[in-house]
Every structure is written in C-alpha cells, then in structure tokens.
Point group: C2
C-alpha cells in the first residue's frame, strides 16, 4: 500500500507506504533491508522538492510462511517499491508526465544521484517536458548548477528516450522530429545522461510542472 | 544597469548587471568590494532555483572623480545592488509578488542563509504566497527540510509582515484577518523567521510561482 502527493493538513504532500509479508525474517534484517530498498525507490522520487514532515515507509512480517530466500525477497521488495514510487510520482499534483532520469558513467553513485536529482528537480526541465520540448540546454544547465568541476561537457551525452540530442560538446541537431513525437506521446519521458567519467549509475523519478500544480497549491482556499 | 529573468537561447534565465563609476578605486580593492556586495544582493535572489551559465556582475571605474570614502561608497553600492536585485526578482517570469525572507536569531550567517533560501525556494511557499495564504505550515516544512537538527520548533517564530502566525510551538490563531488582507494587498510580502538560537541574520528575495511561469516556460514553442 502507498499513498502520496495529496493535500493534507498542514498542506504538505505526505507519503505513506505500508508493506506486509508472511515471510519469516528477523526484525533487524528486515529493517536494514528496508533501508536499502527505500534508498533505491522512495528516496529517489520528487514531486516538487518539498519534503513532508511525516513521510513513512514501514514493513511488517508475521513469519507465518517460514524462512525465505532473502536475496530473492529483497529483489522482489525493491521491484515492488520502485513500482509504487513511480505510481506516486505519476499521481503527483497536476502531473501529466512521469520523468525518469538515468545518470550513468558517473565516478560514483553519489555523483550520479546528485546530477539526476538536479535534473529531475529543475523547474525549467519540468516545464520543458510539460511543453514536450527535448530541451538539452536546460538539462545541461541543471548538471552545471551542481558546481561539480569534475564534469566535462565534451564527454556528456544527453538523450530523450532513444534520441540522443547532445554529444561531443554539441547538439546533434535532431531536436525536432522524431524526438518531438516521442516527447508528445510518451506518458513516461526518460532522460538519459552519460557523463563519460566512470561506471556508476543512478535513476530517479519526478513529474512535469504544470498549471494544475499551481492551481492546486495556490488557489486551494477559493 | 541590470537585466534579468528573460528567456534567451538556450532557454535559461540569465542575469547581467554592469556598474560604472568615476570614483578612483584601485582594481583589487574594487573587485573584493564587489564580491562582498554581490554576496549581499544578487547572490540572494532566486526566481526558480535554476542557475544560468552566464550570470555576470561587473563594475568599471575610470577614476575621473578622484579618491572616495570607501566605506560610504561600498554602502551606496550595496544599497544600489540590493535595489537592482529586488527589481530583477519583481520582474521574474510570471511573478506577481516579491517575497522577502528575513531569518534572524540564527547561530551564524550560513545557517540563516540556508534557512532563508529553503523558504524562498519552496514551491509550496511560493504558491501559498501567490494564493495570498499566510501558510506557516509550509514555512515550517521548508525550515525542517534543511535537516538542521539545531532547530528547536518551540523557539521558532514566524511572521507575515507584522503579523505573527506561529510562536512557542503553536499557531497564534490569527491566520485569517488581518493577515489575509496584508497577503492580498502587498506587492512585497515579507516572511520573518526568528530562530531563537543566536544573533546572526540573513535576507533573501524571491517571487511567487504562478500559472504564467508555467506558460512562459512550457508553452514557448506554441
């Protein structure tokens, strides 16, 4: 179960997620597993950068089914949590498109995550996606505003879906068709960024920024 | 002269500011003075959290007027720069209200600045101001999401204009009138936050987040 992105008192978007299993997993093991899973799923979504005071993910196991293969269990739990996280984002206030940002070829996972979050949280990237524009300039700006001097623009490659729009320090010139049809039709827009620096990777999820988000959050008293 | 918040290729909001004086001030002195001034003015404004690659502030002195009182000069330059920074914010894309966030009683200036920026950049605070709602819950959320554990909610005081809406760990109950008239009528909304921890202070400026911001940045190609 997961519930998110709605308006509750005192007007914050709150995320609640509860999991139950009949697997027999010791409490400590389950807790550390849940932390790893949350770090790969719920902690990688962002509706509007604002953080609720009451976000909660909890898991309960009654042990009825006996011991289980922990590796397989964690894999299934991760997949379920990512699926749930993406549903929360797609259901975000005013959202019309889910945005998946995949940063790869980073020096380490932290760098990949910081870059991916900067892109998915940029209001200019979010509005560009809303306007179905494969705007590589805004993606490059969002990478640049992290002030990570290890970035090399000549090595960065930016793609929307399967369409590479920027590589080797310059736009590829295919900004219009067919990437435009992709941007217009996709309910889930994937922005892939290869940094060309290493082998680490991180994926985060967000949504577009729309007039309905403003209506919901500015005009809720009228 | 200062120019900002417009759309230029590649679709970033770019800020340019050029200053000229006939005072005779050595180049090194003028440069370090400008850095101090910019840190108190232009570096404290935010339209939408996105950072342009080409923001520029420059000052040129031809020396014609001879030596000047440096303290008085810096004071005048700071006032001019703050005035210009506020004009840029008020002219931000889609903006209808300027937001001034003053954080005082902080442990140090860095803490005050981080808190103030978190509030002024929060989409939920920005939309609340657009909707003329003195929403202390969203301000408290923005303070909380800095994860600064030195904060003590019991000591925090939040005011909109002269109207204190939260203190001693609870809302004061005057959320409606007269603070509502203030929020509706003010072109410049001041949010004051006293942390109750020390004596440091910081002021930043931003603007509300409106449907016009979305229109300008999502539908620019249609």
């Amino acid at each position: 179960m997961a519930k998110g992105a709605g308006m509750i008192e005192p007007n914050m978007a709150t995320m609640l997620s509860f999991w139950v299993t009949d697997a027999d997993i010791p409490s400590e093991e389950l807790q550390s597993m849940l932390k790893r899973v949350v770090d790969k799923s719920f902690n990688r979504l962002s509706i509007d950068t604002d953080t609720s005071t009451s976000d909660t993910v909890a898991i309960m196991a009654n042990g009825l089914a006996g011991p289980v293969d922990l590796v397989a269990f964690e894999k299934a739990l991760t997949e379920g949590a990512i699926d749930m996280a993406k549903q929360i984002v797609a259901d975000g206030e005013g959202a019309t498109k889910l945005i998946e940002v995949v940063v790869s070829e980073a020096i380490d996972e932290e760098q990949a995550k910081v870059m991916a979050k900067s892109v998915v949280n940029s209001p200019l990237v979010k509005t560009a996606v809303h306007g179905a524009d494969a705007n590589w300039g805004r993606v490059a700006m969002a990478l640049g505003k992290t002030f990570d001097t290890r970035l090399n623009p000549e090595k960065v490659k930016i793609s929307f879906g399967e369409h590479t729009v920027y590589e080797e320090g310059a736009p590829t010139g295919i900004e219009d068709e067919p990437v435009e049809s992709y941007m217009k039709q996709a309910d889930e827009v994937t922005i892939s960024i290869q940094l060309g620096l290493g082998t680490a990777e991180s994926t985060v999820w967000g949504c577009d920024l729309t007039e309905d988000y403003i209506k919901i959050n500015a005009l809720y008293r009228t």
